[in-house]
Amino acid sequence: MKEKNIVVKTVEGLYNIGNGMFTVLKHAFRSPITSSYPDVTPELYPTTRHRLALTVNPDTAEHLCIACKQCERICPDNCITVIPDPEKKGTIKEFVLDHGLCMFCGLCTEVCPTNCIINTVDFEMSEYSREDLIYDIDRLTLTQDQSRFYFDFKQMPKPKPKPVKPAVVAAAKPVEEIK
């Protein structure tokens, strides 16, 4: 009885080991999952939240920020400072964003009525000092081509050119289009 048991056990063990080895061999013919990052930049989804940036109108190159300060108010880390232009209403003079404080929650991009502030897919922003992480308006603002890319990429509604007088009405329009 016991001899038979050993034989059955041996055959079962051999079968199971062979089964496992075959499964492992099949994996040799799969393409590697590892992404070799510095050589090949990873593909990212449009909704990924990385470095913040300000868009311009892709057609007219006009800055989209209307200085409503909603992003400044909603920011949990208080990392955004919007300084409106005192001479012209609805435009900004300076926009300071501290990426060292930012936690990339994306709340500012959700409240922005004109889709001006967005999360880009760029995540390579190492600096040598903390001060370098404080971005001013020049470093934040994207070029016309970059803005066009992000409007397409994130499937955001194209902004209408700003009418000179009723600035508030014009700002509300893109939000309606999303709905």
Binding site: I6, I17, G20, M21, T23, V24, L25, H27, A28, F29, R30, S31, P32, I33, T34, S35, S36, V40, P42, E43, L44, Y45, P46, V121, F153
Partner: protein, 442 residues
Amino acid sequence: MAVSFLNLLDKFRPHKVYRPSPLVGIFQFIIVAAFWFGIIYGATSTVTLLFVKFIPELLELYNLDSIAELVRNLAPLMAIMVLIPANATFLVLNERKVLALFTVRLGPNRVGPNGFLQTVADAVKLLFKEDITPKGADLLLFNLAPVIFFGPTVISFIPILSCATDNFGPFALCDLSIGILFVTAITSIPVLGLVLGGYASNNKYSLIGGLRSAAQAISYEIPMVLTVVSIIVLTGSINLREIADNQIGGLFSWNIFAFGNMPLLLNLFPLGKSSLIGLYGLALLGMALMLFSIYLISACAEVNRIPFDLPEAESELVSGYNTEFTGMKFALFFLAEYTALFIICCLASIVFLGGGHLPTSFEVEKTILENLAAFKLGDISWLLPSTVLMIKAYGLIFVSVWVRATLPRLRYDQLMKFSWKFLIPLSLINIFIAAVLSSVKV
């Protein structure tokens, strides 16, 4: 529900992912392996040529004939001293790359094209590391342990070299008449190095690792040697080159296929008077396969490969017997471990898989050998048997990495039970059956 979640996400992806074709990794690895084979062969043959021809000729110019003769006789040893480090360097890379292939990774690919020089960089790093001796260590034994571990692996390669070159020129010196006995005897010495290393380094993990390796080596040496005894009974020779030469003449005269008695199986099919001879062939075939598997399993345990790597179980003992060793001493341990793997794979391919002979008829092999011998820069007929043996050994090494990727480590009591209650009785029975089978005259 036909569209999976991932496919849905793919619609929003900006561009396709970089996914190399599954065969690209395999192809790149084959190129790396080919280049490494070139390096190993080039280095070994250059050194051999230096010691056989150039240095003796230089010495003879100054009338130092006796020293020239001595240098000429040292050539095989020098060839081994070059072959083993170069080969172990590639073996480590081979292991890492093949394991990466099995675990769907890329493996080392930073140093050199496609990780070509990774292990060279590792070796250079180990050379420059500080040599630390732990407090309370037994200084003499601590320094001696890597040497005791490494030395025998070099020596045990000697008879294999004669088989690999088919007694070419200076390597006729290595043709020991007790080849297989010599290798099995010498490869049992390194365990002493492990035990000493574990004992001398004044570390509980090292000590446990050393003791475990001693127990394991003692348990698994017995089935291995008993298997070798069965092979000696069946092949009737203990000279490695003779065992290999008995397998000339195609795939079916290899020892793994019923010790060259495969044609006997043909008697089975029209069942009748001669089917008894067929059954005899079948018994020989089963015997050969069983001996091959027992040899591979116990040899794997002997060199502490993964399903049996209890002496260096990372999850329990930090790194086992080599925990306290640094720099060159650690490199020696590492080198010897991989060389031991290479030696057992070489031995298995000589004893079971036809050694340095092609799986074709002898005429084809003879034509190739004659063409190589008539090469205009000199006789290079050693190239064929050594390459064939190398490829067979690397095939077995691939299997060992494959096993490493599949099987988890055994528990300690399972390890002991498997050897003493299963392998040793089985190999004892095998000797009996082998004696009966070899005494039957067909």
